[in-house]
Symmetry: C2
């Protein structure tokens, strides 16, 4: 140590750089695989759009219905074969947690519009939507979404789940799940919906992402209405993500361009981690 008493300069590692984040890399590889292996007939053939989203909620042990307990201290990705049988993901939180997220996101919207904030400002929309579900010839039901106030049809689609990756987060109040879906537009169905739900959504937007904080009231033909509180982080422009996936690692492209996909997933995971750590 020098006479100043301070520590000498410290490199990030023996290589001089931070090693790659194994967790982010695993999610990037998985999302990339899901996108590149999506059924082409649903995409080009039927005009389907890829959807990549992270939902905040709880992983529950299938037998006990208690929150999942694994013998690890920090966040990790659940092996898919384990996720199939022994656990389920519940996309829900308490009204209190929902309110806390609302306050934190409103604070962030305000501070992000101040000069000197290190990222772009958040945008904000308040949406009131009604989903009605209709039977279809396929496995998936058809979802018709209307603007609750104007009753205009916003979208009419069939949503096909391609895969889920579950994130166990024992240090936090919530777990999370990454999902890749295809949304295929379909003609408006005839007949009656089997059930419907009303969504009161606070939609925050930031660069390539939207963060949707939604109160969902479900109404089935029989039974009392069910109230759920959801938080989703979603790529706002899936076409751009899909184009970046196709260019990932292409050696004929400049480094900056072939790394766009990984940088998008890095920001996605960073945002999901920040949301999860702010759950109370």
């Amino acid at each position: 140590m020098g006479s100043s008493g301070g520590p000498p300069p410290l490199s990030l590692s023996i290589l001089g750089v931070e090693p790659m984040d194994e967790f982010i890399k695993e999610i990037a590889d998985w999302v990339h695989f899901q996108i590149m292996n999506a059924p082409p007939d649903l995409l080009q053939g039927k005009g389907g759009k890829i959807e990549v989203e992270a939902k905040v909620g709880l992983l529950r042990d299938t037998r006990t219905s208690q929150r999942l307990m694994l013998p690890v201290l920090v966040e990790s990705i659940i092996a898919p074969e384990y996720a199939k049988g022994d656990m389920r993901f519940e996309s829900n939180m308490s009204m209190q947690q929902h309110k806390h997220f609302n306050l934190r996101l409103n604070d962030l919207k305000l501070s992000s519009s101040q000069p000197g904030f290190p990222a772009s400002p958040l945008g904000y929309m308040h949406l009131r939507l009604t989903d009605s579900f209709y039977p279809s010839e396929d496995k998936e039901k058809i979802r018709v979404t209307k603007d609750t106030n104007t009753q205009e049809v916003v979208e009419c689609l069939r949503k096909i789940r391609l895969g889920d990756l579950n994130i166990y987060s024992p240090k936090r109040a919530v777990d999370w799940r990454v999902s890749v879906n295809i949304e295929v537009p379909v003609p408006h169905p005839i007949g009656s919906p089997t059930h419907s739900r009303k969504k009161d959504r606070l939609s925050y937007t930031h660069e390539e992402f939207s963060i949707d904080l939604t109160q969902v009231t479900s109404q089935t033909q029989s039974g009392a209405p069910e109230l759920l509180h959801e938080l989703e982080l979603e790529f706002a422009r899936p076409d751009m993500l899909v184009a970046a996936a196709a260019r990932r690692g292409d050696p004929s492209l400049p480094e900056l361009e072939r790394s766009v996909f990984d940088e998008l997933i890095r920001a996605f995971v960073n945002n999901a981690r920040i949301l999860v750590r702010n759950a109370d």
Copy 2:
């Protein structure tokens, strides 16, 4: 998207910064706790020195002796209560793996001394040591280490284990373990050693760390000699780490000074991750 066709600038997150690495933070908190709660009578009273090291090896299921299998896809820290009963850590690797590390570290020593390398150059020493173990009145045996060539006594100490943290690393060929010990110097024991071992050590040094690649030949009074291959990463100046631990988060100090401990642990974990990822 602009007319250039390239993606717009992307912030690291909605906060504009990378969220903290939960894994590194957990290890930093744990090492800090071990240091701050080390028995003072062994430190000030008996001149003991803290040792913080990471060993590369395999976590094995106690019942099957197979490598541990947990239902997670990426590295995580094993909960201590699980580590106590269901698994053990084996500080060993194949001769082939040992040779591979030797080649990689020699390559790095060479490239790190070239102009333009982003970190300091590695140092290197070849050590041949003999450890002899003597019974003592305490739980721990006394270890006398001699230079094998000159037979000079290098150190004579009792090593007290304070704690271990085990890292499961399913994507890699090896797992690892962080240990905090106290090494208390003692007078040379009288009588005969119960057993001894010879260490052929390639010791690489980098800034605050030493990386020891060691071939250990153990000889007990009965039985054939046992050959082990070990890889350890260790803080070279534990006094400096202990001083940084005491200043961690002290609000009366400038930010740079109170974050020294966390920056040291970050470099330690980065180096351990790099070593583990280079296991073949």
